[in-house]
Symmetry: C2
Subunit: 171 residues, 2 copies
C-alpha cells in the first residue's frame, strides 16, 4: 500500500509533468554556480535564492557542512564547469542545538550498539556548530584552504533567515 | 565587486522576503519524511515532487548517493523525527558518464598532486554508477541494510526523468 508521502509524490509529478516544458536543458548548470545549503524543510532554494531550472547545482545536507559536500563540489567544478560557490546556512538550524556526543548517544539508545559501531566504521561525525556566523566563516575558510577547490573559484558565505525569508552576507 | 550570481541572490531574496508569510514553521518537517536526490541543476524538488515549505528534509548530492547522505539521514530521523525516505535519482545524471579514476585524473591534472592526495586524506570516492535503475536498487538496499536506519523507516526508490518531468518507482 502506498504511504501518504508516496501518494503525494505520484499526484504531484503528474501535475508537474503535465505543464513541463524544460526537457532539453543541458547537464552543466547554465549559470555555472553551485549553492550549498541545509536540508532544512523551511528552505526552498529555487524560490528563496532565485535559481531558475537548469541554472545551478544545489547541494544540501544537515547544516550545509562544507566537508560533507566536498565530493559533490569537486564533481560540480571539475567535471561540470561551475565557477562559484554560495554557501548558505540558516537561522534556527538543528545543528545549533545538539552536541556530537548527544547524537551518538541517541543512536546507541535507539538503534543499538551495532549502529553506534557503524558510525565509526563509516567515519560519520555529526558536525554540529554552536555559532552560526562563525560556522559560515569556518566553512568558507575550509573551502578556500582546500586544494580540491581551485583558487579561481569565487566563494561567499550567507545566512538565510527562516523567520523572514531574507539572506544576509557574512563573508 | 558583486558577481552576477551574488547580485541575483540579493535581488531574489528581496523579492522573496517581500511576500514571505511562512516565518513560524517548526524545525521538524511537518510531514515527517525526507527526500534524497541529486544536486543536478535540472531538478526542482519542491515543484517536481510536491514538497510544500516545511514538509520534508531535502538532501542533495552528486548522484543522490546514500552513503554520502547517511550523516544527514541519521540526524533527520533520530533528532528530527522523519519516518520515511524517498530516494530519487534521475535520467541523464553526470554520475553515469565517468569512472572514478577519470575524475581522480582530472583532479590531479587540474589541481595538482596535493589535491589528489587530499582526496585520499579526506577519504573521498566519487561513486559514479553505470546503471541508473541498479544504482537506485543498490542505494535502497544500502539504506535498508544499514543499522543506522531503523527497520521501521519506509524507503522507496525512484527515477526522475529530466526530459519529461515525471518520476517512476523502481523499488
Amino acid at each position: 500500500m502506498a504511504t501518504h508521502t508516496v501518494q503525494n509524490l505520484k499526484e504531484s509529478k503528474d501535475r508537474y509533468a503535465s505543464t513541463f516544458i524544460s526537457g532539453s536543458l543541458a547537464l552543466p548548470p547554465a549559470k555555472e554556480y553551485l549553492v550549498l545549503t541545509c536540508m532544512d524543510a523551511r528552505i526552498d532554494p529555487a524560490a528563496a535564492f532565485g535559481i531558475d531550472l537548469g541554472d545551478a547545482h544545489v547541494i544540501r545536507n544537515a547544516g550545509a557542512l562544507a566537508q560533507d559536500a566536498l565530493r559533490s563540489i569537486v564533481i560540480s567544478q571539475q567535471l561540470l564547469g561551475t565557477q562559484e560557490i554560495l554557501l548558505i546556512k540558516h537561522t534556527g538550524c538543528g545543528m545549533l542545538i545538539f552536541q556530537d556526543e548527544d547524537a551518538c548517544g541517541v543512536v546507541k539508545q535507539n538503534l543499538g550498539d551495532e549502529a553506534h559501531q557503524e558510525l565509526r566504521t563509516r567515519n560519520i561525525q555529526f558536525g554540529p556548530f554552536p555559532n552560526l556566523e562563525k560556522a559560515v566563516e569556518d566553512d568558507v575558510a575550509l573551502l578556500k584552504n582546500s586544494k580540491l577547490v581551485s583558487d579561481s573559484i569565487a566563494i561567499s558565505g550567507w545566512v538565510y533567515e527562516v523567520e523572514t525569508g531574507r539572506v544576509k552576507q557574512i563573508v
